[in-house]
Subunit: 258 residues, 2 copies
């Protein structure tokens, strides 16, 4: 777990003029799932409200500690970085960042040794942020939605940005591990693999798989299959156990045969 997770305390989500209290609750839940707690509400239409509590599910604590302020300037007065979420728009006189870039900048700001607060600001459900509010932002963040239908629900937009903030906090190691190998696996040694392939060849003979055909082609294809599977030592023991029982059946059939 990365030190920069401590940056979470210096990351703030600001919701401006939210119309539906249920969206405030859903946003609080989205934040908490990504380890974020700092919520500021600018002039919400209705808050506190039971719809907010209902949609927050287990994130009621984020709602309880939410600060309510009259305007955006107050909400971000102590922030060194303010990023405003907007739909892509020609009229914005701000740098436009993708969520991943925005999250990297916000976490870099919040995680700095003399770290300072970074805010991501979300506007009203219908009308977003007005121009005066955008003027208070250092850059715009635009989720790369389908231009044909770009209307993300407010809480969905908060979820996407909170998710990118968490990945940025976790850092590249935790955020992008290689596909984890199952616990305790030891790759099969060359000798173990060859022993398995030899028993496979014997088994194919015992069950009369080739029926007169040359065995090389089938064996080559089967080798490729099992080599692609990157067998570990336990896999090899399991597969050899299956082959042993097939060989035993073939012996029984032969012994009992006419």
């Amino acid at each position: 777990m990365s030190d920069s997770l401590h940056a979470a305390a210096r990351l703030r989500i600001v919701l401006v003029g939210t119309q539906h209290p249920g969206n405030i609750g859903s946003a609080a839940r989205a934040m908490k799932t990504m380890g974020l707690r700092g919520l500021v509400l600018v002039a919400p239409e209705r808050f506190p409200h039971h719809d907010a509590v209902a949609m927050a599910a287990g994130a009621g604590d984020v709602l309880d500690s939410a600060r309510v302020v009259p305007d955006l300037a107050t909400a971000v007065a102590d922030c060194r970085l303010v990023l405003g979420c907007t739909a892509r728009s020609r009229r914005i006189a701000l740098d436009e960042l993708l969520p991943r870039e925005a999250a990297a900048r916000a976490v870099a700001t919040a995680a700095a040794p003399a770290g300072t607060t970074a805010a991501v600001v979300f506007g009203r459900e219908r009308t977003g942020l007005d121009n005066d509010e955008l003027q208070l932002c250092h850059a715009a963040v635009t989720i790369p939605a389908d231009p044909e239908y770009s209307s993300l629900n407010l809480a969905a937009a908060v979820q996407v940005l909170s998710y990118e903030l968490r990945l940025a906090m976790l850092g590249p190691r935790e955020a992008l591990p290689a596909v984890p190998a199952p616990d305790g696996d030891v790759p099969a040694s060359h000798a173990e693999l060859e022993g398995f392939f030899a028993q496979l060849a014997d088994t194919l003979d015992a069950i009369d798989f080739h029926k007169g055909r040359a065995p090389e082609s089938a064996l080559r294809k089967l080798r490729r299959i099992f080599l692609r599977a990157a067998l570990d030592d336990r896999d090899v023991r399991l597969l050899r156990g299956v082959l042993a029982d097939a060989q035993r059946m073939a012996r029984l059939a032969a012994e009992r045969g006419p």
Copy 2:
């Protein structure tokens, strides 16, 4: 706009046993904002439903074209890659991918020249996917939520995965290999793989591999081995031929038995 955006037509979101129809509508909206249209509903508790329509907002067309099926096997029968969203869990006998890795694999699969359908599967709000359903998945996808509160709303999880799928479609095609096998062979369909696994289970019984032990554990391990091998349709025919001869020997041994 990248060619791989055309992959959207081969990307499928599957919701299993959704309890609240409003979540189906929210999920449809989340999909459409990211350019996804292919929604399949497995045994939803209530659908169609006015709550779904209300939450879908402008994504009613995604709801209207949603396919409703009785079980997950039917929903993914034609899919070459099936990824199941789960909370991080030790008991899962599947590779665990982060959303970004999962999206890269899904888009690589769907955007391949001989592109094939990839599905991302989401379980029930409370209980997620059961073990039988996870067995139908080629890998698990886990959103790296805060372990202290990892309960994403269903539509929020769909939003995060749909967002990563869109980024993967917009971006250059990933280096991550699609599940399809090498040599440009046609990857085995989900139905072909399940047919093979069923015959494998029958064969283990016929050769008395289990000897009184419960078969689940061995079958699960063997599934993992062969799923890792990314079998193509010829591989499956070859392996089923081997199983057929082992079954034949077992029959002979039984017929000739004392």
